[in-house]
Structures are given as C-alpha cells and as structure tokens.
Symmetry: D2
Subunit: 328 residues, 4 copies
Amino acid sequence: MADPKQVAVVGASGFAGALAAAIVARHPSLELAAVTARSEAGKRLDELYPRHRVSLELEQFDADRIAERAGSAIVGYPHGASAPIVAALRERSLKVCDLSADFRLELGRYERVYGDHAAPDLLGEAVYGLTERHRDAIAAADLVAVPGCYPTAAILALAPLMEVATDIVVDAKSGVSGAGRAATETTHFVAVDENVKPYGVEGHRHRAELDEQLGADPPITFTPHLLPLDQGLLASCYVTPRSELSAAEVRELFAEAYAGEPFVELADTPPGVGDVRETNRCRIHATVEPATGRVLAFAAIDNLWKGAAGQAVQDLNLMLGLPETEGL
Amino acid sequence: MADPKQVAVVGASGFAGALAAAIVARHPSLELAAVTARSEAGKRLDELYPRHRVSLELEQFDADRIAERAGSAIVGYPHGASAPIVAALRERSLKVCDLSADFRLELGRYERVYGDHAAPDLLGEAVYGLTERHRDAIAAADLVAVPGCYPTAAILALAPLMEVATDIVVDAKSGVSGAGRAATETTHFVAVDENVKPYGVEGHRHRAELDEQLGADPPITFTPHLLPLDQGLLASCYVTPRSELSAAEVRELFAEAYAGEPFVELADTPPGVGDVRETNRCRIHATVEPATGRVLAFAAIDNLWKGAAGQAVQDLNLMLGLPETEGL
Amino acid sequence: MADPKQVAVVGASGFAGALAAAIVARHPSLELAAVTARSEAGKRLDELYPRHRVSLELEQFDADRIAERAGSAIVGYPHGASAPIVAALRERSLKVCDLSADFRLELGRYERVYGDHAAPDLLGEAVYGLTERHRDAIAAADLVAVPGCYPTAAILALAPLMEVATDIVVDAKSGVSGAGRAATETTHFVAVDENVKPYGVEGHRHRAELDEQLGADPPITFTPHLLPLDQGLLASCYVTPRSELSAAEVRELFAEAYAGEPFVELADTPPGVGDVRETNRCRIHATVEPATGRVLAFAAIDNLWKGAAGQAVQDLNLMLGLPETEGL
Amino acid sequence: MADPKQVAVVGASGFAGALAAAIVARHPSLELAAVTARSEAGKRLDELYPRHRVSLELEQFDADRIAERAGSAIVGYPHGASAPIVAALRERSLKVCDLSADFRLELGRYERVYGDHAAPDLLGEAVYGLTERHRDAIAAADLVAVPGCYPTAAILALAPLMEVATDIVVDAKSGVSGAGRAATETTHFVAVDENVKPYGVEGHRHRAELDEQLGADPPITFTPHLLPLDQGLLASCYVTPRSELSAAEVRELFAEAYAGEPFVELADTPPGVGDVRETNRCRIHATVEPATGRVLAFAAIDNLWKGAAGQAVQDLNLMLGLPETEGL
C-alpha cells in the first residue's frame, strides 16, 4: 500500500481542490502524488492555475491507479458526487479528507437537506474536521469531513458563547470563490461588482451544519451575503446572553476556549477578511454592544484556506501524526 | 428675496453635495444658483467631478451673497460645522435642506452623541426629512434634516415591523462613498479592496437616529460594515416578532405601509445594491425565515441618492410644492 | 405602418440591448413598443435588470408582430445572428440600428473576419453609425451599423491625427460588460478581480473596423485588455507624427475636428473612464510626450453608452429627425 | 559587527517595507533584527499589517542602535529621504538594499529628475539590483538599488529585444499599492474604483531608469495607468523590429535571454497579473502581431514582490551568498 504521505487530490480543478494541491505540493512532509479532474483531464494544473505553479497533469479518476500511488486523498467533488469517490478510496484503505458536505451530517439531516446519500455506511467513521473542536477524533480518523466555509467561521465565533446564548443571529458575508468555479449568472463579474446581496434567505444548506455542531437550541438565524471580492468570509454574530455579560467576561470566554490554538487569533478590534487573506487563520473579535448588552462576535477567515483547503491539510497533518501547522 | 427655485448648494465639494448640485442643475423646475466650498473655492465643480458636468465655479461661503441669488439651499457640511451655516441661511429666510446630523435629533440626544449644538433654537422648526414618514411636515417646513444613509435604509426596513417587533438586529453594509471624500487610512483603496470589516461596533452615531425615529423599545442592535464598492448600502434587519407571522402577513405589512410610495420598491427576492445604483429608490424584500420564524427585512439604497442628495431634492420638491419625483 | 417613433428593441436581454430599451423607455419623443429575447422570453425585463425599471415582457421575435407595433428597431443580437433579423425588419420597412458587427464592414472584409454574411444585399444601404464622422449619411439612412466599443474610442482618438500619423499603436482597456452577458470562464468574477490581462493579441475582430474606417496606412497595432471593472473603456493611442508637432498644435487639431460636437469632450488632463460612466460622452486628452515627440491621445467612453446603446439612440435621433442629444 | 544575516528593515511602515520585513521574518537563513518607522514608531508592525504577523515594535531610526543588532538593511524610505539613511548605514558597514530611486541613476540623470542628491559619493558603489541583468555585480555589492516596479517589468520585457528594436512604446498598468500608503485624493477608493486612468503622461520618473538601463536609442515612450486593483503590474510593450521577425524567432530571443532564470516565466499565452500575485515571478509572453509585424511583449509582476520587496530579498540573498531563491 502506498505511503499516506503520498497524497492525491481528487477533483483538483475547482478552487479549493487546486489550492489543496498547491499546499500539498509545497508541504515539507507530504508529496503530491496525483491530481484528477472530470472535464479538464489532460491539462496540466498550472494551465488552469498558473499562479499555483503545480505542473502535474490532471488525470481521469481511477481508484485503483490512485491507490497505487497515494495513501491519502483530499477530495474536492461537489456534494452527492463525492460520496462514491470517497467510498472507492476508503475501500482501498486511503485516508480521506472530503471537502464536500457528504460526510458532515448525520444521515437523517443529510437526507432532508441534500437527498439520498450514496455511502451511508461510511457516516459512522467520518469525523467533522474542525480541529479546534474535534482534534483528538480527527487524529484518530481515517475519514474527515472538512467543514463548510460558513460553518467554520460561525462555529468558531459562536462555540465559546453557546452556554450563555438565548438567541443567535449570524449575518455572513463571503467572497465569490466560495460559490465555486462554475460560470453562472451569479458569478459573472457584472453581477457581483459594485453589488452586495443576501441569498439563500429561506434556508441555506450550511445551516444544517450549524445545527449539527451547535445544537438547535437556541435556533440560529443564518443569512449569507455575496460580496464583490475574491477570497474572504466574515461571520458577524449577534448573541443575546442569558444574563448580563461585560466585554471583559466575553473576552475571557474566548481566551479560555482558544488558548494555545495555532490558527485562532483573538483581536482587540474588529477583523477584516484582508487580515487573514491567503492564510489558514481565523481572526476573531468579540465584545458587548453597550446600548443593548448584546454580545457581538466577528470571525474572519479565508474561505479557501481555513474554510476549505487549508483546513483539509490541517486535518491531514493530524491524521498522519505530523505537526498540525506544518506546511500552512 | 430670491426665488426659492433658485437653489444654492453650500458645501458642494463633498460627494453628496456635488451630487446634489448635479441633480439640481438638471432639474426641470430648479436652477442651480451657486455652489460653495471651503478649501476648493476658485475651482469649477467639473474640475473635481468631471462626470457631473456642472461648470459653476465654487465660491467661498458668504451668506449675504448667497441670499441675493438663492431662495433655497442644500447644505453639505460636516456635523457641527453645518449648524452655523444653516442658521445664517435661515436668518436670511432661505429654505434649507441640511445633509448633516445637526438637525436630526432632539437637543439632549444630539449633545450626548455630538457635543454642543451651535444653533439649538432652530431644532424646533427642523423636520426629519424621511418623506415616507413625514411627508406633510416636510411640505410645510422651512428647515429639513436629511436623514443619514444608514437610518434611511434601516428605518424603511423596520418601520412596518415596529408594532410586532420584540427584538431587532440591524447588520448594515455600506460602500466607501459613505465615508466621505477625505483621504484617510480607512478610505485608501488598499485598505478597502478585497476586504470587509465591521466598524463603530461600540456605538455608531447613526444609532441615535434609529432611537429617535423608531423609539428605544425594543433596543436595536446596529453594526455597520465597510464594503469594497463605491455607492450602495444594504440594511439586513433581523426582527423577532411578538407572535408568529407568515411570510404573506409580513409582505402585507409592507404593502400597506408603502402603498403608492414612488421611491419604495417591494421585491419578491432579496435586493442587491446594484439594483438601485444611481437611483433614488429603496428596494425592500421582507420574509420569514422558516427555521426560526424570525422576520428578515432587507433594504437596499444608493447611499448618495436616497441616503443623501436624492433624498434632499425629494424633500426640496415637497417644500417648494413641486411634484415629489421631479428631477429624480 | 407603425410610427418610427415606436421603437422595438430586438435582443433586449443582453447588456447593451437592455440599456437601449431603458434609454428608449425614458426618451421624451420615443416609445418602447416591444422587447424581445431568445431564451428569456416570458420574463419581464425588470426581472433581469431591476435597476432599469422597464416592466415590459420579453417576447419571442416575430417580425410581423413587431412590424405591427414598431416603425424602428434597435437590434442587439450577436454578429451572424443579427443579419437575418435585420433583413426581416428591413423587409417590413422598419428603420434599424444594429448593434452587431454585421453591417459595419464591406463584404470582403466581413467574410475574412466573420465568415459568410446572411444578408449581403443590405450592406449597400448600411451606414457606419459614428455620428462624429458620418452625421449626414446617418440622418438619411434606414439602416445604421452601430460601431463597436473599441473602434468608437480609438477612431475618435485617432481621426484628427490620421493625416500626420506614420505609425500607430492602440492599447485599449475595457470593463467586463463589453464581453457580454454570457457566463464564461473569462467573465467569472474570480478570473477578472485583481487581474488585468491582454487578449486577442494575435488579431481582435475590432481591428477590421479600424482598417475600414481609418484606412490601412499606416497599419495600426491594436491590443485590448480586460479590466476589473464593469462599464468603461479607455483607448490609449500612441502616434508617431510625420514631422514634429507641439502639444498646442495637437490640441488645435482636436479642437477643430470636434468643434460643436455635443458628445465629445476635450480635456486638459488625461481622462478616466469614471469621468464618463453612465454617459454618452467621449472624453479625450491629446498631447505630445516631451522625451520622444510622440503624440499621445487618450479617449474614454462608457462601452455600453457611447460604445453601444447610447450611440444607437444618438443614431436613431438623427434618423428620425429628432435633436441628436434628446434622451441622452 | 553584527552578522549580515541579521537584517533591519528601515522604513517598515510602508507597503514595500512591511512586506520586506515579513519576508525576512519567515526567511530560513535571515533574522529580522529590527524594524523602524518615522511616524508610527511605538506600534507593533502587526497592528498596521495584521496579515503579515510580524509582532516586532517599530523603532525610531538610530543608525548606531541598528548597527549593533543588524549587519544588513533593507531601506524603505521615499527618494531623497533615503540617501542620508543609506549613508549612515554604509558608514557603519551594513550591507544595504535600498528600495528608493536614490541609487538607481548616475548623478546627472538623478539631479535632472529628482534634484540634489544627499550622498553622491555612494553612487559609485551602488549596483542596480535587477538580478537577471546584474547578478554578478549584485553578489559582490555592498549597496544595491532595488529597481522601480515599472522598470522591473519593462526592462525584463524589453531587454531581449533591444538589439532588434527601432521603436518602443510601453503602456504600463499598475495596482494602487504602487502609489504607496499615503492617503491622497489619488488613492481614495472612490477615485480608483470602476476607473482606469493614465498619469504622468508628460514624463514619469521611472522613464529615467529605462533610459539608464536600456539606453536612449531608440527613445522609449512610457505611459503608466492606475488600475482598480491592489497588487499587480503589467507592462505591455510594442516594439518595431529592425527587420521582420517571426513569432518563433521572438520566443527564441526570450528563451535564450532567460534560460535558467528562477523567477522569469515564459508563457505561451498573455499573462495576467493574477498569475503572479504574491509571488516573486515575472511572467512574460512575447509574440508578433500578424497584421503589422510589430513585436508584442507583455510582462506581469506583483509590484510589491518582484517590483520591490521580493526583489530586495533576492538581491540580499545574492549579496550574502545564500541561494538566490531562498525564502521567496
């Protein structure tokens, strides 16, 4: 069997997959063994992404051929399409980090949101890959479901507050790379430029991850907005506390929750997504609004890094016993 | 005394003042009598704003010389600096629309937020210039305080819901023109581009207008964010209703509140600020989040139009007995 | 036969067609009789373009039904697809402004660049719709070929210099709306944002228009670049003069060429595309580079206005005997 | 004397200085010994640039205190202000890479463009730091003048063509970070957004570097443009060849000139600045325009990396005998 440090990126033509391939290629302890893509096979990855400088040729996916060369895989397929790929890789004993939603939810919740699941038997072994909350389980796992970009920021902003929260509103804002590489009316430059717009207001799929990870009590209002920028995601969280809290008490909750975390950065002032661009960090500022006593928590990430590919490599580092921050 | 249809724009070198001058210059019933500016006097306005094509020369402000030629004025000075200018113009009987905060609040609230007031005697005659709420008073007024950009969007989104609201969060997003023409670290292209950031989280001045206009019960959480775009403002409002409301009931509240309003546009889908760019309209979508029952109301405006200069001309139309939509 | 002031916009779902419909709808002397679209028929135009506020329903194109209601048409189809539509409308005696390339070139040149022509018999009656050069012919025409966006800016910048030029380089820069409404890899926000890139370097189709209008001597180097902005086009033209010219002499050439032109604006400093955004103007600055004696001429337009829909209405005004600037 | 691998960044609060500090801080063989700034002293660098994560405190410049701790320096002062700082550091035997223009030109040319020189005696020892042209001299130098951003891209695009060129036009386009961190009318977001504009058309200072490095025959037309993006610079070069050249011959000239160059990337298609964002590479595409025989050469760099801070570290690597690509 191939060495787990030989990593395949399956579905490497999308934004997150391509970045995962680039991070693996530069990683001191990992080697990029193969990259695959459905419709772009035959091209070199650096024809699609000159900036990443990964000159491997994209292959058609073939589980056996991948398993010969790679002991681990990062899978960058859309939800639904991902589960069978993951199943094929797990059958061949590869360790897998899956960027899709297919292994993030319990079966019932998945079916309500996404429909039928192609590999429900694997749900039992899948671990939700938010390192700050499931580090030990990730280190022991063979299959990790990399969190969605919105849940990553929102959960990191909300987790320290869940015990004191009676009401939660998450107003989230994302750059366009989060919408994927498909050219659509929504991702056309002219539709996004000089614009900002809420979407999915009647129910965005990422809400299910918030419920699964944080519980449904109190229920969480969640509204995403599309912004005229490339990479970056901000979750602005408004939390009504059970009883009055001072700003110092709020800061203390976060300081305790994230002591020693290498990729969580607590800031004295509100974060901008530019502060974490092209990094794997989540920058958080939490305080109390004097006029209302409401707790405000703002978390900024790069949606392609901590919200996808960077988090995947962080997970893989843990799964392979490497230093968690290596290559990031 | 000069004809009130002869309009001076006092403080025309800022973004809102310059746009007000351009709208007046093209207005079929108004004439642009004079434009003034403190530091740019001597230049033609179209040297600063070629696109507006207003070739009048900027003068130093002189109340007597203005009063000889103009019977109305739109004042574009910063708060604090505006009140004495307005007082000088009112002494000379000009009708005034003031773009600053100086006449938007009752004295006590003003002093708590902005400090001393230079013309408190005029507060009694000032009317808050949100036409959709104070149309008759504006029509009878000689001094109108044009609302702030954030309050304009937030109040229009919230007003129909105030009777049913028990809790309110306003997450607002604005383009950079709202920060004014001064070149600062905050308005530098590199600081804004590819970024989004909350600011004023411990208390933005516009909150006082929300309190003054909507009442302090329930208290309103208000957080503005700066976006990488030029003109446009979105208020995303999250309202907990006293009792369960259907989406249809919410739509009905808005349909009643804004029946016949020429500049309020109720939409079936969430508005983008691009939908109202360079117009005086406020586009609103209100619905109910199925998972929580929370009422969501989104209002998009162009901060320089309905949020400043366009609103000022709408007010002036009413004050002069002209059709409310003329020139807009 | 329908009144020529009743105008149909055929192919109104693209950026230029939709803007043409909006300009016609607001035009004091024209009436928007019908709007058509191939794939979006059945929708109201303001569902696609809320900002334009044109609530007409898009129809499938049917020449007879259009001819019943409209005496003129602006056609917004792609090249190749446009010629048969124009032929059908001309058969029914409508006056036509065509936004495509189909009637801009003589037959041989068209075939070399675009392939077969579907209505070559109409080429004889077609007039190139650059008003500043062909005003009288346009006024007498029934079929006008609206110039391409790049040629509009380049020709206006170069025409006054052709007699003195021995060498010409045009480095042109356009916003993304010029690439049309189709969602492609090229128009994806992530491909354009924070980027600038030359394209068509081995031969862009618009070069043929430059040759046709300006002659092939001297040959013109022409390279377009795609910019991260929505609307706006700048042609930077570098012209080697036959003999030494002073900056004053160059300015004089332009002043003579464009005396009295309502939409050409000669500026003392280099134009930005922001100076003409959402206007039908072309703003030009011409000077001489001291170090080399080279003549520099910069022309900025809004590619959707003077580069397409605005120019079409300017042409239509002339064709219908209306004031050239009406509605613009 | 301090170890030359102990590096001070003097003037670290500007964009290029701050990036230089960040690159040095992450460099495997260098250590960031000190950072200084004139007006921001006392702040930590990561307060100004959270993304760079350099937590050193900015000091007031004091040559003696720097010399105690650092054996090399990268100087990020404006031209004019830089020369005395460099002189003070050279007196104390530090190796210096200067980001300003102060040591890029021979004295006469400097005085004509910038005025008096504060340390003319040092000009003799200064080497122009474009590694691809002066590698050996840089390796032996104690004082390197890091090239300007425009000359870097233009010289790399033009150098292989100088022997065959009879006429040269350089149309250059830069993001706003090239204009520096000062908040001015020019760098205000609203001035840049949705705009593109030529500037310095009567003579930009960087032309002098082109003349100095490439010779004045043929004279070079050079026009910079400001683009609505943060980091990135494209030089579009139009070169008339002495005699006809094929595209293959042009490619061969570049292949020879840049064989083995680690940071020059020859591409088969036109480069975008996004292809090199946040890298030290220069990506070049050169070809021949079929219609005219003109040679087209496009060079894209990140103006803060290869155009400033990255190039400085590349120079420093050579000066210290380290691998040229280390840390980049």
